[in-house]
């Protein structure tokens, strides 16, 4: 996208994260800006931290580490979504504590279904690489309608999980979400597809952010959003594989 086209598109935005930056893009002359290289390096760093956390939790199984990591990670994800400027501090902590959670949950499932963790890791990164290729080559073209569709589906899944979570306190739940029947597996497949398509939106956000020279801290934010989607995708693939193996 040409610079003038970006200003035309983003300059009128009401979103404080993007709008102000593009309106005052002259003010960023000489200061550091978001690049693809920087975002990829930061993603690598966050992945490394996540693996480090997972290795700790895998070797020292502790429910406190696992559920503590999940709760702190959730809080940090909400905070970072609203305050991207601090992503440089919150994103590494998020990656580490989520690693603690992933290591624990992977170990629990690995003991039930040997080999499931490496399968989920392979499929997650395989999906990441193939969708990146499709995006870079232009085979998948995210549009406004695509974004709206993925956003709606993601929001719907979130509401469904929330309702199921609240119902579980009353000894009830939405059965088909966790069942290993046709509906349960179909639902998991659908969620895996939506999580994977969220990766395309992350790639597009990072690409456009680098094109339009967003401030440097947005590299952390881009890497963070990619990590959130990757962790979600990994968990859903893990759940899908567990359902398939339990049949």
């Amino acid at each position: 996208m040409a610079r003038h086209a970006a200003l035309e598109t983003f300059g009128r935005s009401g979103n404080p994260v993007f709008g102000n930056k593009f309106n005052n893009s002259q003010g960023f002359v000489g200061s550091e800006r978001m690049t693809l290289d920087g975002t990829v390096n930061k993603t690598g760093f966050l992945l490394g931290l996540c693996f480090f956390g997972a290795i700790i939790s895998w070797n020292i199984p502790n429910p406190f580490l696992m559920f503590g990591g999940a709760l702190v990670g959730f809080g940090l994800a909400i905070y970072t979504s609203f305050v991207p400027r601090n992503a440089g501090i919150t994103a590494p902590i998020y990656a580490f504590v989520k690693g603690l959670f992933l290591g624990g949950i992977s170990l629990v499932l690995e003991m039930q279904y040997p080999g499931i963790a490496i399968q989920a890791i392979g499929l997650t990164f395989g999906t990441l690489a193939s969708l990146l290729f499709f995006y870079k080559s232009g085979l998948i073209k995210p549009t406004e309608n695509f974004r709206l569709m993925i956003f709606s589906a993601t929001f719907g899944i979130m509401i469904l999980y929330l309702v199921s979570f609240v119902m579980s306190f009353f000894g009830s739940g939405i059965g088909f979400i966790h069942s290993n029947g046709i509906f349960g597996i179909g639902f998991s497949l659908f969620v895996v597809c939506i999580a994977a398509l969220n990766l395309v939106l992350d790639f597009d956000f990072i690409e456009q952010g680098a094109e339009n020279s967003l401030p440097k801290y947005m590299e952390w934010y881009g890497a963070f959003s990619l990590m959130v989607t990757l962790i979600w995708l990994y968990l859903e693939i893990l759940r899908l594989l567990a359902k398939l193996r339990s049949r």
Binding site: T9, L36, Q119, F125, K136, F151, I206
Partner: protein, 70 residues
């Protein structure tokens, strides 16, 4: 064997990711009119092209005529 295959898949995929993501997307991807607009939330659709057309469409060409109320 299973672990080796999926382990290799993970390593190769990560290698592809770290190399390919540093490359700029193809012109087919970047030179489009219907790219996503990250400046607005997805539920607030904003079509600048159509807005421009609408505003220019308000100009009615031709001579002005005085309206007599009588």
């Amino acid at each position: 064997m299973n672990s080796i295959i999926f382990g290799l898949l993970a390593v190769i995929s990560l290698f592809i990711f770290f190399n390919l993501s540093k490359v700029k997307a193809s012109a087919k991807q970047t030179n489009r009119d219907d790219r996503t607009n990250w400046g607005t939330p997805p539920w607030r659709k904003k079509n600048h092209t159509s807005n421009r057309n609408t505003s220019s469409g308000r100009i009615i060409e031709g001579e002005a005529e005085e309206v007599n109320k009588d």
